[in-house]
């Protein structure tokens, strides 16, 4: 292990918080998706750091499953972005408030 595990985890936590801030604060659907990507990558970094700490390959294997999950999620959500753009001609999240009371 080239650095302490706590430094890797702190770095992953900082990345995760940045992605969370992007997801919560931005109103553009594309930027919300980018925030989710950042959060998933931070989780993957935590997996890789733990795999290096315990010298087990399982953490890296779960990053591969994480990547497959991300590809599926991005395919569906970008298709939904195209669909919503056709419906409302806007990608601001506030345009999709049709279900409020």
């Amino acid at each position: 292990m080239i650095v302490p595990l706590s430094h890797v985890l702190g770095f992953a936590a900082a990345l995760f918080l940045m992605g969370l801030a992007c997801t919560l604060a931005r109103r553009n659907l594309i930027m919300i998706l980018i925030g989710i990507e950042i959060m998933l990558n931070a989780a993957g970094l935590a997996f890789i750091g733990a795999a290096a700490f315990w010298r087990q390959v399982d953490g890296q294997i779960f990053v591969i499953f994480l990547m497959a999950m991300t590809s599926a999620e991005v395919a569906i959500s970008l298709a939904m972005v195209v669909y919503l753009r056709r419906q409302k001609t806007s990608l601001e999240a506030d345009a999709y408030d049709g279900m409020k009371g």
Binding site: L15, I30, V57, T70, A72
Partner: protein, 175 residues
């Protein structure tokens, strides 16, 4: 050496992510995110996961981020007014980040892979990785492949153009 590289790359990834989440133009955000993913790929390599590092570059930056760029261009989401400010303000950050990443990559090439100063002793080669993946998690691999198939079918279903709804509009335009 590897420890110093780790902290430099971590700072680069944090800076690129910070630039990414504050951009107004989604194209700029995606380009900064590609920088952050390259830094993360080098970090994965430093932590003994070369195969995951390669997939980070191939899948995340090569496939997913390019898909984002295609959608942004297809929907014309980027603002069309020209960017304000001097040239170094526009190009400086991304050139700086890319330069740091390039020099880190060149430094990594020079690292001794067996010495005490070089790469970590834990290093999952693709062979180890593949044996562990297909011997211990065959069911999970099958489930993931089904998930990708369902995602492709679902994306096609959501993104299809309904011919019954579209036809009257085009006829109206013609008339």
């Amino acid at each position: 050496m590897a420890t110093a590289l780790f902290y430099i790359l971590a700072l680069t990834a944090l800076a690129a992510t910070g630039m990414c989440i504050t951009r107004r133009n989604p194209v700029h955000a995606v380009l900064y995110l590609v920088n952050a993913f390259f830094a993360l790929a080098l970090l994965f390599y430093l932590l003994g996961a070369p195969l995951v590092a390669a997939w980070e570059v191939i899948i995340y930056t090569g496939a997913i981020m390019v898909l984002f760029l295609f959608i942004i261009m297809m929907l014309e989401l980027a603002p069309d007014q020209p960017v304000q400010g001097a040239g170094w303000r526009r190009w400086g950050p991304v050139v700086l980040l890319s330069g740091v990443l390039l020099s880190c990559t060149l430094l990594l090439l020079g690292l001794d892979s067996s010495g005490a100063d070089g790469l970590p002793h834990f290093y999952a080669s693709p062979r180890t990785f593949g044996y562990a993946l297909f011997k211990e998690y065959p069911l999970a691999v099958e489930i993931v492949s089904f998930q990708l198939l369902f995602a492709a079918v679902g994306a096609y279903y959501v993104g299809r153009v309904d011919s019954r709804k579209q036809r009257p509009e085009t006829e109206r335009e013609d008339a």
